[in-house]
Structure formats: C-alpha cells, structure tokens
C-alpha cells in the first residue's frame, strides 16, 4: 500500500506531449478507420434490398399519431394512402376514417355446439380485410378439439377431413377477444394500439414500429406480424376500407381482428358472422338489452378463455343444449330399439292428446334430462 498516490491537483499532471506522426501510426490509424467504415457499410448492406416504396415519403414521415391528427391532417393522410393504394393495386379505394358510434359496446358470442369447423369464417375474413395471401396472414384460428376438454394444447389447427364436423371433436375458433383490460395495449411502447370507446382495440399501422411486444403479451395469440411484404393479388383487393381496419398494411407492422369496424360501425355484421353457415357466431351491442348478444349473456352459460389472466374479453363462448339427432350413436340405438318394440304403431301421427310423453322421454339418451335441471 505504499505506492497509493494521492491526486494532488492538476499541477501534478505531466505536460501533454504532441503525438508524433510516424509512418507506422499513420498506417495503423488509417487501416483502423477504413476497416471500421467497411464494417459499418457491411452492416448497413441489407438496406440495399429495400424497395423504393418501402421508404416513407415526407408526408408519411411527418404524419402525426392518429389521436393527434386534425381533420385536415387526416384528410391529407387518407389522400396519401388512396394514392399509394391506387399506384399499387390500380384501384381507387373507398377509404374513410370511421368513428365509433355513441352508446355502443360490441360483444361477440360463439356457440360451440353449432360450430362445424368449416373454416368459412377464416377465408371470409381474409377476403374482407385485405390480409397478405403470401405469406398467409389469418386472424381466425379454428382449432379441432377432442370432446371433453378445453385444453388447446390438445387441439389441432391443421385438421384435414373430407367433411366436418367430426362427431368425436368440437371446433373452437379463436380470434381477437377485444379485451376490456387488454395487455397488448399496456405493453405497446409507442401507443400505436389502443382501445376505442366501442370496445375495439385498434392499431395505427403508420405508427407501429413492429417491436412485437403486443404479440408476446396477448394470451390468445390473436396478433399477427407482417414478416414479409404482404402480397395481395390486385383483383382480390377489397376497395371498401378504413384507416384503422383493412387498408393495406406494410412489412413490419402488426395487425389483428378489429371486428370489421368499417362494416360494424355502419351497422353491418362482421364478415365472419355474415358467412357463418350455421349461425354459431353472434354479434351485437351489449348495451342494448334486446340485442342477441345481451340475450345470450342473460340466458346461456357463457365462458371466456383464460379467465384467470384477467383480460376481461368481450368474446364469449357457450355450449347450447344438444338435441338428439342421427349423429348421436346413443340416440340412434334407442330409436332402433323403439322401432322394433313399437312395431306397427311406430311413427303414427300423434293422437289428440299429443305425443305420448313416456314415448318421447324414453327416446332420449341418458344424458338428456328432458330440459329439467
């Protein structure tokens, strides 16, 4: 410890010497600088692959956040997007910015007893919302689940059957649940996604930086990232679009289901509800006590996925009563037995006192309790 030196002021610093410029030091410094610049240039070389329209023009670069835009700003932004869509797809789009309706909160209900897993909703959604066709981006996942469990790990996205439904499975479609307590909104570092007054969580595609935090935060795997430049054939573009929903996206931004807000904020049904062949999908305003979804919440035993994570989804599932039908092996066996027992009396029109109650009751499978609790 004897050579611990105590700093005794600037006067003790040795006088600074001018560096001597030798051939050696010149070459070394020059080589270091050149090598550093080469490394920098090589690191930036992926920029060569940028297409010309990947680079934002000045208007897009200076565009404000959606909530900060004045109507004039918005009209300028819409016109810029229209122009870009027209350049790329040779169609003049009907592009608007549609605001939420007063006194409306959207809720979705899905009857798992009626869903047959035909995947029409998936493709109707893709056709409506201008998702990328290659690579494919789909908002709705339909999971084929074994009966008797809700463990999605046991489900299969890739079922490929000649016909659906399969009697041993049920089908669980999952899309954005438009949570009332959305984790994706909390994690967004730039507030590019937020919840609107009508309950729809939207994304400003021009503000998103593509960090994918929201994708990681979503417990329902509902958000989709454009890893590649979205490819959409010109003839398949849906020209009716809005700023926050289905206008064409760029590479590197998130997107997700938005309850087709360009349709629903004008009173129409979302594309997935409209296409559903069985009426398993129900959509409406939960603040209206007479709406279909209000009636479902009142009268059906609804549940949400992953209730324990506290996201408060606006997307409810329910199982309906099952009715005996020819798909049900138990019901078919009982019907055959009755037919044999009844003989000629089987199938006669009901008498004046109505169908024989004991006959009807006997025809039900064991799990059917006649509608009584």
């Amino acid at each position: 410890m004897t050579d611990v030196r105590i700093w005794d002021g600037p006067s003790a610093r040795p006088p600074r010497q001018e560096p001597e410029l030798t051939r050696r030091s010149f070459l070394r410094t020059g080589a270091a600088a050149l090598g550093g610049m080469a490394a920098l240039a090589a690191a930036l070389s992926p920029l060569r692959e940028l297409a010309s329209d990947d680079i934002p023009d000045l208007g897009q670069f200076l565009q404000k956040h959606y909530k900060e835009m004045t109507p004039t700003d918005m009209e300028a932004a819409l016109e810029r997007i229209r122009r870009k869509v027209e350049e790329r797809f040779e169609v003049r789009p009907h592009l608007r910015d549609i605001k939420p309706m007063e006194g409306v909160e959207f809720v979705y209900a899905l009857n798992l007893s009626r869903c047959i897993g035909c995947r029409k909703c998936v493709h109707a959604c893709v056709a409506e919302n201008n998702q990328s066709r290659s690579p494919e981006v789909q908002y709705i996942r339909v999971i084929e689940m074994p009966r008797g469990t809700l463990d999605v790990e046991r489900g299969n996205h890739h079922y490929d059957r000649p016909t659906v439904p399969d009697p041993n499975h049920f089908y669980l479609p999952v899309q954005c649940h438009q949570c009332a307590n959305p984790p994706c909104v909390k994690v967004c570092p730039v507030e590019a996604t937020w919840q609107e007054p009508d309950g729809i969580t939207v994304i400003d595609y021009d503000w998103c930086i593509g960090c994918r935090y929201c994708e990681a935060a979503c417990p329902y795997w509902a958000r989709r990232f454009n890893f590649a430049r979205p490819h959409l054939p010109k003839e398949q573009l849906n020209p009716t679009m809005s700023y926050l929903s289905n206008r064409p996206r760029e590479k590197g931004v998130m997107e997700k289901c938005h309850f087709c807000l360009h349709r629903t904020r004008e009173g129409r049904m979302p594309a997935c509800v409209e296409i559903c062949p069985t009426g398993a999908r129900k959509f409406g305003n939960v603040l209206d006590p007479h709406s279909e979804v209000s009636q479902i919440l009142k009268t059906k035993r609804v549940f949400v996925l992953k209730e324990e994570v506290g996201t408060l989804p606006r997307f409810f599932y329910y199982f309906d009563e099952r009715y005996p039908n020819s798909l049900d092996p138990e019901a078919v066996a009982i019907a055959h037995r009755l037919k044999a027992e009844e003989g000629d009396a089987y199938g006669l029109p009901p008498g004046p006192d109505g169908p024989r109650r004991e006959f009807i009751a006997a025809a039900q499978p064991q799990w059917w309790n006649g509608g009584r609790a």
Partner: protein, 239 residues
C-alpha cells in the same frame, strides 16, 4: 495469500516497445467483421408458401336453402305449379312417404315424424296445419316447428338460435332473421356436413407436435427440420 492489484497505467508503462504490432488487431478485426457481415447478410431464406386462390363462390353469403314461399308452388319442368293445382284433382295415394308416387325427390329423414300430414294440411296443400287444426302459411313455418321443438323456438325468438343477416342493430330494417326452413331442410332437418375450406399455411401457426403432424407443420418448422435433417429434409408424410 495476497491479491495482486494492478494500478491502471502501470501495464502500459511497463510494456516493451516491440509489442506495438498489437495495434493492428483492431483494423484486422474490423475487416473480419465486415467480411462476415457482408457474406452473411440476408440470413436464412425461409420458404414463403405461394398464395392460394379461394373460390369466391365459396364465400357467397346467402341463406343455405330457399324455403317454399307463399303461395306455395314447385317448379315442374321449369313451370311454376301451385300445389292445389294437382292436389284438388288427384287424390293422394296414402299419407306415408312410402306410399307416394310423386315427390320422389323428397328424402324424408325427420326422426319419428314420417307422415306428410303431420305438417302439411290434408285439405289445403298450400298451407301447413298445426295439431289444433289451425292452418298457417309457409311464411310462418316456425310456428309449426315450435310444436315439437319448443326450446329451440324459444331460443330462436330471443335470437340465440339461428342466423341473422344484414345488421346487428336491433329493429333495423336491414336486419333479417332466417326462418327454420332457410337453414334446415324440413324433410331432413339434420344440418349437413360440409367440406372444410383449406387449413392455415401461415408462417407461425404450427403445432408443437411437428414430427407427428409432418406435412402440416408451419413453414418455419419445416425450414428448421430441413436444415437439421441429414437426408436433405424429406419430411415423412403422415396422415
């Protein structure tokens, strides 16, 4: 045991002048990084599945079937014919489906309900008949079905069963509730099976059980297995 402490600066002072070549390490290192970055730029090429065309007719929104409308008629050789046009002239040969001579196209599979006159009026074939004898037009088919399917009718009235087209706004003129027979064939009411539309081929929608699902794994997983397998990545085909 003493810990050796180095005072910053002491090493430089003690370094012999013949180790100055160490200064070349920096530019050489930069050049190695530059070559590596340039040669390796782009990263792995992940196969992007080609776009698949979906037949637009598959996405046509309409009621599943066209129900009989009032006044009830069917097309015979392209000409609309009222029901009573025949039925007031010709007698029906019995009331069971087995006994019919006409309407052979009707496949009756409605459980125990296998008599024509359980639903159709025997006197007026252009109407339906409830069990109490009330005749209802075809437009009011749900009243007839409700006689047996009470709980479904209750749900249908509330809107929790059945399909609604047009608008979610209650009491909107654009809203249209489909009737029973616009989805179900009354003669064979069980909902038919459908051919499913193609499954996902998206970049991330794979399954954790990739080997057992072989051909259906996500492109990312296929790329991963391709780069791992020594045989050049011929994925075994599973069904």
């Amino acid at each position: 045991m003493s810990t050796s402490t180095t005072v910053p600066g002491s090493e430089t002072q003690g370094r012999p002048p013949d180790q100055r070549w160490l200064g070349w390490l920096l530019p050489i290192g930069f050049c190695v990084v530059a070559v590596g970055l340039f040669a390796g730029s782009g990263g792995p090429t992940i196969p992007v599945p080609p776009a698949r065309a979906i037949e637009p007719s598959a996405l046509h929104v309409a009621p599943r079937r066209t129900a009989l409308s009032d006044p009830a008629h069917i097309m015979i050789e392209g000409v609309p014919q009222r029901c009573n046009g025949c039925h007031q002239i010709f007698d029906s040969f019995g009331t069971t489906v087995a006994a019919r001579n006409y309407h052979q196209e009707i496949r009756l599979s409605h459980g125990m309900n296998d008599r024509c006159v359980n639903c159709h009026s025997e006197k007026d074939r252009e109407q339906l008949e409830l069990r109490d004898g009330t005749r209802v037009p075809y437009a009011q088919t749900p009243l007839l079905c409700a006689q047996c399917h009470g709980t479904v009718f209750r749900d249908w009235e509330r809107g929790t069963h059945g399909k609604t087209l047009g608008s979610w706004v209650t009491q909107s003129e654009a809203q249209r509730r489909l009737s029973c027979n616009e989805c179900h064939d009354p003669h064979s009411p069980r909902y038919p099976s459908y051919e499913p539309m193609p499954g996902p081929n998206t970049l991330r929608m794979g399954t954790p059980l990739a080997p057992s699902h072989g051909h259906s794994a996500s492109p990312l997983q296929q790329w991963f297995h391709h780069s791992q397998s020594p045989t050049g990545g011929q994925e075994p085909h599973h069904d």
